[in-house]
Amino acid sequence: MTAVTTHRTAEEIGRTAAGPRALPALGETREVPLPDVVERTLPNGLRVLAAHRPGVPMVEVRMRVPFAGRTPDHPAVGELLSSTLLTGTASRDRVEIDDELAAVGADLGVSVDPERLSVGGSGLADGLPRVLGVLADVLTSATHPDGEVARERERLAERIAVARAQPRTIAREALQRKRFGDHPITREMPGAEEVAAVTAEQVRALQAASLVPGGAILTLVGDIDPETAIAQVGEALAGWTADHDAYELDAPPLPAPGDLLLVHRPGSVQSQLRLSGRALRRDDDGYAALQLANLVFGGYFSSRWMENIREDKGYTYGAHSGMEFVPGGSLLGVETDVASDVTAAALLETRYELGRMVAVPPTPEEVEAARAYAIGSLLISLDSQGGLAGTLTSLAADGLDVDWLRAHPGRLTAVTADEVAAAALAFFAPSTFTGVVVGDADVIGDSVRALGGITGP
């Protein structure tokens, strides 16, 4: 099959005269260089975080506004607000806004979810005043023009149709309903008919009522002087005010353990397994131990679950477990996509590996590997302006700061194997999970139901 007519056999290729070699030791570990973060709360209630991280002449911008809904139409109106925030102000139209940003190599994007509205982007560092000028313009005088709202309404309906054809969206929506019932946290995507009913007036009214600075966070990381940058923010956003704080989402009731719900998706050639249990928040004393227990189970490639169902059985391309924070709580998610004909087998192995976390706790070697990965991958994730900006913003929303980040490798280092075993016992017992299985029930139904703990069609 190749240009070479004679080649070595696979066996010949896999050995040399010298034989196997020893793995080199690790060298000296370098300190994690985290910059100081200057934090200031402006008179309008906006918290501003700024950090000097040179390297490239860029600045990363992240803004996060608590944005809980107070009416049933909130998800649809909020999505349209997000789609039209950058499409017109008292002084600029959509193209002029984009031109103004592009002039300094900048991009801004807006997104919304049940908890918050986020504006994020980046630009050349010396263009920061211009980016802040655009941000101030849209926050204080966005007009959500009738024509833009009408066009984005059509596009949004089309995009929702595309998103709801994705198996991951179908599985996510089923999981959220299973975990949280009809709590607003489940309203991640509005219905097409709800979007069609939204008027430009409603969008403008929502911006006036809910896109407000009190309780919001703006983070700037890059080749900037933090004090100067904060002064520029203060000047640019002084006119953004409101007489109340932004609306925080109420804590949802945390899910109870229970059967997995089988959800029928006709014609599916794969099934989505989505299991969920409880976890801990970052400020909990047990968080670091749970983080390591999660890595050992399914939090990285070298985990028990991944090595079993991918590298041994070939049931999946990927399997992942991780923690997801919600208001007032934290949840463990266990997620994989597998071929229809091995769905029951993959579910069986998943329950087996969950049970094994309890019955055969992580070994000292497993804990050491997870610890090295947790510390090293944290270092890598923070080694860019964007990574640092994102992490600082999500920590700040939880009331944590860069000191928490600096101390976290130490906390991970201090965790003992016994503490990891205790976390495994508390959080990985198969009986503590709930969740969904999405797939073609005509193909997978009989075998997954036979395993027990399944409800649905």
Binding site: E158, S302, G376, S377
Partner: protein, 439 residues
């Protein structure tokens, strides 16, 4: 605005090169400011080089390279990288396959050891081959078969635009051909294409050049030289006219289309190629881009539209590469209206070159994007390594902003005119009737 805002500071990056006696090319990229080191091996074989009857083999082989080597049992590679605090991956492109890890700098020698061991003596076994065929099939089900617009346009468009097997076939592979792959195929593929002289090693991070070069020599130096394969030309004639093909998609709720055009050879006409890169930005990057304004907003023809110079990204393949325009549109809009509007915008640009300001804004966005690439060791290393392997000049990355800034409106207009003149492939994705109600 003024073009002088575009600062080019990438030139401060130092590049150090060497070639080992066995032919392995080495590129070292020191950066004292980061605590993170990256090691990448780029091998000069991609899915265009896989043999007929073995579609998907280059990618399958990439998976096998993670399955163990003489000094490393199955699973050991992953465990050693992650147990050293690092992350890893590999990917298969048209003309190359890359393998890399990014780790705390303390693990530099370990990473070199891991890469050298599999380039010297990978452990290719029947059991691992069968296991990875299953894993790759799951990857294809996840990314192609079980979702809307799977393989759009990178798998679906090439067979419309190209005639020859290397350019036209599915790089993910047909299930039946993946299942037929044998251990002997793998041995032959390795011996042919994974010779040290057919590979490029890139190391980036807080490294001392002399020390690192000595470590490279220590771990890679005794891999015996083997003949390197003669790289075939994948050139084929321009299509000359339009070719059109429709494919059904059982999961897609809306129709989609892709237009594919040929581009200049980046090895012989880099500025011509880059004019297409800048044209793609003028057409599709941002709310002010030509196709966004016309198709999405003025005419309301499409939900989303994008333009890209390069099937898998710009400067990611040798000739021939593909310029694409893709759009998702409502069923009520005839595809020809979308194609016609794209044609008109291309003709407008060809007849009336864009203003220098319009180009300067797109160059500023490119400059910013390149800075962001440079801010992460992983992307900096992969970008430099790929351009060094493909074009012999990692410097292209460093010079890119300046070269884009130096392009004239007439050159970009010329690129638009070239797209209108050389024929093209048009792929239509048509939603197949779904039977959601049968349940």
């Amino acid at each position: 605005m003024s073009g002088s805002r575009v600062r080019v500071s990438l030139v401060s990056i130092e590049l150090h090169r060497a070639t080992l006696p066995n032919g392995l090319r080495v590129l070292l990229v020191p950066d004292p400011a980061t605590p993170v080191v990256g090691v990448a091996v780029h091998v000069d074989v991609g899915f265009r080089s896989e043999p007929e009857g073995r579609t998907g083999f280059a990618h399958l082989f990439e998976h096998l390279m993670f399955q163990g080597s003489e000094s490393l049992e199955k699973l050991a590679h992953f465990r050693h990288v992650q147990g050293s605090g690092g992350v890893f991956n590999g990917s298969t492109h048209q003309d190359y396959t890359d393998y890399f890890e990014v780790l705390p700098a303390a693990a530099l020698e370990r990473a070199l050891f891991l890469e050298a061991d599999r380039l010297r003596a990978p452990k290719l076994t029947e059991e691992n081959l069968r296991n990875q065929v299953d894993v790759v099939k799951e990857e294809i089900r996840l990314n192609v078969l079980n979702r809307p617009y799977g393989g759009f346009p990178w798998i679906l468009l090439p067979p419309v635009l190209y005639d020859t097997f290397p350019n036209a076939h599915n790089g993910y592979g047909d299930f039946s051909e993946l299942e037929q792959a044998s251990l002997d195929d793998a041995a032959g593929f390795f011996d042919t294409f994974y010779a040290p002289g057919n590979a490029q090693l890139t190391v980036a991070g807080p490294i001392d050049v002399d020390t690192t070069m000595a470590l490279v020599d220590k771990h890679f130096g005794d891999i015996p030289a083997r003949p390197t394969p003669v790289r075939p030309s994948f050139a084929e004639p321009l299509p000359g006219a339009e070719r059109r093909q429709a494919v059904p998609d059982a999961h897609a709720p809306l129709p989609a289309l892709a237009m594919g055009f040929r581009m200049p050879d980046p090895a012989t006409d880099l500025d011509g190629y880059l004019a297409h890169v800048l044209l793609a930005s003028v057409l599709g990057d941002g709310e002010a881009a030509r196709l966004e304004r016309r198709l999405v907003h003025a005419d309301g023809l499409v939900t989303d539209v994008s333009a890209s110079a390069g099937l898998m990204g710009s400067l990611d393949a040798r000739d021939p590469d593909t310029f694409t325009v893709t759009a998702v549109h409502p069923a009520a809009v005839e595809p020809d209206r979308v194609v016609g509007a794209v044609d008109e915008e291309l003709e407008k640009l060809a007849a009336t070159p864009p203003s220098p300001d319009e180009l300067a804004r797109q160059v500023a966005r490119w400059s910013a994007a390149l800075h962001q690439e440079n801010d992460r060791v992983m992307y900096r290393m992969l970008g430099l390594g790929a351009r060094e392997l493909l074009y012999g000049r990692a410097e292209i990355t460093l010079e890119l902003t300046d070269r884009l800034a130096a392009l004239t409106p007439a050159q970009v207009a010329g690129a638009a005119g070239a797209l209108r003149g050389a024929g093209r492939g048009v792929l239509l994705v048509e939603p197949a009737t779904q039977q959601e109600d049968d349940a």
